[in-house]
Symmetry: C2
Subunit: 210 residues, 2 copies
């Protein structure tokens, strides 16, 4: 009986183990290749940001009469599968975006789902092809801070060529401190979504297991 | 002698005709499938705009403390192969971009070469993966104007689903009146390029013949 009991226990534990691993794998795999349902605003927004590698970063240009100035930039919000939702950038003041931000921190960062390739046949402006604009302040990070080290690791992991960019261009790490989120991912207008809900969404703690 | 003279003239005219047609065809074919060399700033900029179907349109958001607000939009600068370089948009004031522009026309429109697929393995922020920002004024067009009719035809040709978008959303046609051009398409900083050079570039008059 004792041996039988151990066998049963072993069998049950094995099944539980397999179930957990299988669930985890499928969950991770699903999250890494498919998008959350549009009604799940926070996971959807975090998915869109973590799946993207570039967007348009907008600043105020005093050189152009205070016009809003968009610029194509690469970004990362964390190591693959471990994004925190905050976009980090690797910018040089040789480029107007960084120098604009040092004069006026008001900024937004805009990402389209279209380049990810999951919009099917929808037009880029169709509301079912999602888009997100994070508005806030664009700040340079202290290069010795732990956040700057996290951000640099995240950026170089997603954009390997960055580590070889010219040293004399004085690239610095910037972050967007998010104050407002505008996301359209279905019909019916922008999704209600607070910064709190967006940043505290836990999907990245259990996703991307594989 | 008279007949001989006509024959010679006929031969010369035939050769000239063949040469012009051949040049036009090859030129047109090359322009329609490959990008101009980076040093040819005006043709390059017009190529990048005409090959793209969407970008990020930036306005000033009074609702967000005057922040620059980027938004993913579709656009067209003309029928395929007949672009004029001026981006036209189909916007509704249900969306913040159009309502922002009606309060403050300062705007920019940003396009990346990355989604076209011709950046090879360069990162989206690498200067060899080109990007352009057209800065100016975003104005709504009189719907009865000939320019609005041209623009609508251009938009619906490039974005067929637009003609079926909800009538009660009151979509209107906007244009960006370009005042400044910022383009990076190689190492060495932004390419010098005036609006005059950009708009008067003739590539679209003789290109895309095939």
């Amino acid at each position: 009986m004792k041996t039988k009991g151990f066998s049963d226990l072993y069998l049950v534990l094995s099944l539980v183990f397999c179930f957990v691993v299988f669930q985890g794998s499928v969950h991770g795999r699903l999250l890494s290749i498919s998008k959350p349902k549009p009604d799940n605003a926070a996971p959807f927004a975090r998915w869109l940001v973590s799946q993207s590698s570039w967007g348009v970063l907008n600043t105020i240009s005093s050189d152009l009469g205070g016009a809003p100035f968009g610029n194509v930039v690469s970004f990362s919000d964390g190591l693959p599968g471990k994004g925190r939702g905050i976009p980090y950038f690797y910018l040089t003041t040789l480029d107007p975006t960084a120098s604009n931000a040092l004069k006026d921190q008001r900024s937004s960062f805009t990402i389209s789902e279209y380049p990810i390739g999951t919009c099917n046949k929808a037009d880029p402006e169709n509301p079912t092809c999602s888009k997100i604009t994070l508005t806030g302040k664009l700040r340079v990070l202290d290069e010795n801070s732990s956040e700057a080290k996290f951000a640099q690791t995240a950026l170089f992991a997603k954009h390997p060529e960055m580590k070889d960019w010219p040293k004399d261009h004085d690239f610095q790490i910037f972050k967007l401190e998010i104050e407002d989120i505008f996301m359209i991912n279905w019909f019916g207008g922008p999704k209600p979504l607070t910064v709190e809900q967006y940043l505290h969404e836990k999907m990245n703690e259990h996703s991307f297991i594989l």
